[in-house]
Subunit: 251 residues, 2 copies
């Protein structure tokens, strides 16, 4: 049997939600689908923290840079790399866990993201809207405090979930040729780059971005405004410290 997957092509990220709740049974169905996705060695080394409480949303808000989806969406899901549960199972069963290292963090992060994306797609198939928040890795230390995550647990991404109150234009994507390499990586010449990014650069919203930010190129909006080197360096240091504090750097 084949299934219609047009929802994968027609999707857009949703940042505005109606007041309508996301029913608990529906949320449980989405999570069930997420838990059926691939997971390393069937270890399921991830956890999902569900935030519905207004007070908790308010506590999370500054750590997600005050993006208003946090308080406006009915449900926030924080996906965590989690070896804590598995370690406890090992210890209870006379087995010595060796998962306090960087490889295990990557394994658990991949498990967490696979579950997150499966839940996002299951949600979108039901008409819900989602938005990923990259702030989770920037502010992991603060989110750990708010969500009371123990050692062995690191938040890796967050999604806001609710019924769409907007239908924004679909953003551009690079042509598939820019993303796909056949057999070996074919590195990009200057003219490849010009070709692949020309559509993005010529869009009205890109030109508006450049103007609003007083820049001369779209790339400068990324490097000088949205994803700055100094911020990246600062958040890299704090994230590596989080991995150490949460017990994933003992190699």
């Amino acid at each position: 049997m084949e299934y219609n997957t047009d929802f994968l092509l027609n999707r857009r990220t949703i940042r505005k939600y109606t007041q309508e709740e996301v029913d608990n049974d529906l949320l449980n169905d989405l999570i069930k689908a997420g838990c059926r996705a691939s997971t390393t060695g069937n270890m399921q080394v991830y956890s999902i923290i569900v935030t519905r409480d207004a007070g908790m949303k308010k506590e999370l808000l500054p750590h997600h840079f005050n993006q208003k989806m946090i308080t406006e969406a009915p449900v926030i899901l924080t996906f965590c790399a989690d070896f804590n549960r598995f370690n406890k199972w090992c210890i209870l069963n006379n087995a010595l866990p060796g998962y306090d290292n960087f490889l295990s963090f990557m394994t658990a992060s991949i498990d967490a993201i696979i579950a997150a994306q499966t839940i996002c797609m299951a949600a979108e198939a039901k008409g819900l809207g989602i938005c990923y928040l990259g702030t989770t890795t920037y502010m992991a230390q603060k989110i750990i405090e708010v969500l009371k995550l123990p050692k062995g647990v690191v938040p890796v991404t967050t999604i806001t979930l609710g019924w769409p109150a907007e239908r924004p234009e679909q953003p551009d994507r690079l042509p598939a040729d820019a993303i796909v390499h056949k057999e070996v990586y074919s590195d990009y010449s200057d003219s490849d780059i010009v070709k692949y990014y020309s559509q993005k650069e010529s869009r009205d919203d890109s030109l508006q971005f450049i103007q609003e930010n007083n820049k001369t190129t779209l790339a400068q909006v990324f490097t000088d405004v949205r994803y700055k080197k100094d911020d990246n360096i600062y958040f890299s240091k704090t994230l590596l410290q989080v991995l150490k504090d949460q017990g994933f750097m003992n190699q």
Copy 2:
């Protein structure tokens, strides 16, 4: 409109494939769906290497621990965290990229996994079967050589893709209650662990695993045979070295 997503619940990982090819148009459709998924700041900082050539599969084989899906599946997809393309675009546009750090690696890895899982689900909806290979992070250094990945590019996961030649039993999953936490993380008591893992431990295949490996508990099969501390430490060191070599540790 609502879409039927039963394929998410009915799925199983497929390790045996028929001889039938995966049509190029079909593969392109799957990749198109993958590229429509969420990506940080719409930067699309990932690349996909498509392996169809028998010689290339043979080169990859030992680095995936000789798992025979590599040579038996018609298509291998290696998903890479990739800031190389974006960096080149920045430099061409008088913008100074600051993405040679650990945070940027995590950002790009998350982008890559989201694309991978979207393609997996699109594939399964069309009746194809997939298998994730965790060996990619273990053996990243060797895979970089085979696939000729430049600086700024790190492979994070691999999937084998083809038409199923098997329909294995669905493996167990932990109850959703074991994975989900409401508002804050509720840490596990010994009796929680016993409760959540009892079904897994009592399965016939688990008991067989224990016996085959001469162990006394299922957890020991994981710690002493499948995911050993010494291996994890060794692969953690090599993976961190890869991040350094590929230019992601300048913080």
